[in-house]
Amino acid sequence: MIVAGDVLPVPRANIDTDQIIPARHLTRIDAEGMGEHLFEGMPDGPELLARHPGAAIVVAGENFGCGSSREHAAWALLGRGFKAVIAPSFARIFAENAYTNALVPIVLPQHTVDMLMGARRITIDLDAETLRADDGEPIRFALDPLRKQFVLGGGFLNFLQAKIPAVRAWEAAR
């Protein structure tokens, strides 16, 4: 599967989920309507988005998605048309939420991320686990081998549902 898009560079560390989607928008009982509020909590967020219309891949600094566990952060990125986030590191819960929702979280070293900040377009080959910035050489990355299937085909809850008999057996033998 190929994921490609223009870059939204966010050259800062510690972009927390309150900045990605402020709590005042966490008032729905579904995952809809989050995209229009993406990065509203980031001081220059709306301007940044306006300067990169149609961007689909966030390239950001360390510890992206820290703070609140709100899955709304992943929903807001997806709702705005983003397909992947590339950063030197992610907060655990954000990365888990990203995988679950098929928003590709890609970890690369800081110097590679710095280089990608300047790219216009990135093309990601999920099967080969490589990406290219513009016409550059392929860059290898590694996805979680288990969670990759949720990016490729969804089915997070179906995967768990299939485990219920094993879980019940485990609990009975506990």
Binding site: R12, A13, N14, D16, D18, Q19, P22, A23, R24, L26, T27, R28, I29, D30, A31, E40, G41, M42, P43, E62, N63, C66, G67, S68, S69, R70, E71, A74, S89, A91, R92, I93, E96, N97, T100, N101, D144, P145, L146, R147, F156, L157, F159, L160, Q161, K163, I164, A166, V167, R168, W170, E171
Partner: protein, 444 residues
């Protein structure tokens, strides 16, 4: 092989090892509140025949916006309410509610050695009981409700030993902030922080909860503290009076992926000056000269500025970090006989805490001082209701996050212990409780 406390809890809950270092981990309890639960509950109803793994392993409540502030939040609350009743889930509606991380332990729902998850990052609070408790997303929570399990990467364990004893002026909040400042705002990522040492053993359960509550602010999966006689006494006094749990301890020769030691007697009252909780300094100090420019620009501060010179517009005592009865007593000790000079909101962590505070007359002390005494809610901590900041205004807060915009667009947050918030509310600037003079005794 000798094991850490965390490793023992983890290994007792692994149902199945999964590829890539993942594991299927059984959850003894899932905590469900109105903000993050509805989409998952609705997905289970729609796609999985409304089947829950075991409704007895769920406890739910209205906590974030209580009562609802508008139609949207009312629908969130109503969704959790009807879902809870339909499944006979233990449910705490407004009036009988509290912030999940305050209510769940005070009822006695968490015991040592348990696993607990919730769609809320501060679930790490419950690690104070020797449980493995962690925050997760909405869909992962739905998975725990559907199949009783989470998919998790096994975290590494960092031993955080706090030696000596805290001095009189230092609190668990100061310790929590100091730990983050020491290991860094993302220094705990990939780790569980396993707290030990004489200063930890001396903490009350409420103080242990304050400390573990902020493990997430260092990026850690959670914090955990071994149960002891303090834990047993606390649990015995809860409504549930849980029994049948056994205290777990780390093996003496357990190996840790990382280890740090902090001298507890060196912990001083601190306040944050930046835009993450690791950016804090002793309250009698200054904004550091090497403070990040971006943080200071947002906070409208300059390097070298005395922290005690920073004027505040609002004060807030509440949140899952510092809203328990001990926190309110500490605030009341400062506010007794005084007047606040800025709008001050005091929000108990649960209705049970509220009632206890009122039995002790604390609500009179607060209201005599001019503070607003509210019912329980997450309140303005996350900028949702009951005291959201205006742009450009500054709040001294006993909460846990000073991120840009956290308590309201353009709002600036300084984090501190409740007594520091109370002192600052009186003087209208960041202030230490030691600066407040005791009111003159009233002649009989």
């Amino acid at each position: 092989m000798p094991l850490s406390l965390f490793d023992k809890v983890w290994e007792a809950h692994v149902v199945e090892e999964l590829p890539g270092g993942n594991a299927l981990v059984f959850m003894d309890l899932t905590v469900a509140h109105e903000i993050t639960t509805p989409p998952g509950a609705i997905a289970i109803e729609r796609d999985f025949d409304d089947q829950l793994y075991d409704a007895r392993r769920i406890v739910s409540m209205i906590d974030h916006v209580a009562p609802a502030k508008d139609s949207a939040t009312a629908l969130q609350a109503q969704t959790v309410r009807t879902w809870s009743k339909r499944h006979h889930i233990r449910f705490h509606d407004i009036g009988d509610n509290g912030i999940c991380h305050v209510l769940v332990p005070e009822r006695g729902y968490v015991t040592p050695g348990m696993t607990v998850c919730c769609g809320d990052s501060h679930t790490c609070t419950l690690g104070a009981f020797g449980a493995f408790a962690l925050g997760i997303g909405t869909t992962a929570q739905a998975g725990a409700m559907l199949a009783g399990c989470l998919i998790l990467q096994r975290p590494k364990v960092m031993r955080v030993e706090i030696t000596g004893a805290l001095t009189a002026g230092a609190t668990a909040k100061d310790l929590a902030l100091s730990v983050i400042a020491t290991i860094g705002f993302r220094g705990g990522t990939g780790y569980v922080l396993e707290y030990s040492g004489s200063a930890i053993r001396a903490l009350t359960m409420e103080q242990r909860m304050t400390l573990c509550n902020m493990a997430i602010e260092a990026g850690a999966t959670t914090g955990i503290i071994a149960a002891d006689e303090t834990t047993a006494a606390y649990l015995a006094a809860t409504p549930e009076k849980p029994s049948g749990w056994a205290p777990l301890q780390a093996d003496p020769d357990a190996e840790y992926a990382a280890s740090i030691t902090i001298d507890g007697s060196a912990i001083r009252p601190v306040v944050s000056w930046g835009t993450n909780p690791g950016e804090c300094s002793p309250i009698d100090g200054i904004v550091p000269f090497d403070a990040p420019e971006e943080s200071l620009a947002y906070m409208d501060l300059r390097p070298g500025q005395r922290l005690a010179s920073i004027i505040v517009d609002q004060a807030f005592i509440g949140s899952c970090t510092n809203s328990r009865i001990g926190d309110l007593r500490a605030a009341a000790d400062v506010l007794r006989g005084q007047r606040v000079s800025v709008p001050t909101i005091i929000t108990p962590g649960s209705q049970a805490v509220r009632r206890q505070a009122e039995r002790e007359g604390l609500h009179d002390i607060f209201q005599d001082a001019g503070a607003l005494w509210t019912h329980s809610s997450c309140g303005p901590c996350l900028g949702m209701s009951m005291g959201v900041l205006a742009p450009g205004t500054r709040c001294i807060s006993s909460s846990n996050r000073n991120f840009p915009g956290r308590m309201g667009d353009g709002g600036r947050v300084h984090l501190a212990a409740p007594a520091v918030v109370a002192a600052s509310a009186i003087l209208g600037r960041l202030a230490s409780p030691s600066e407040i003079e005791a009111p003159a005794a009233v002649p009989a």
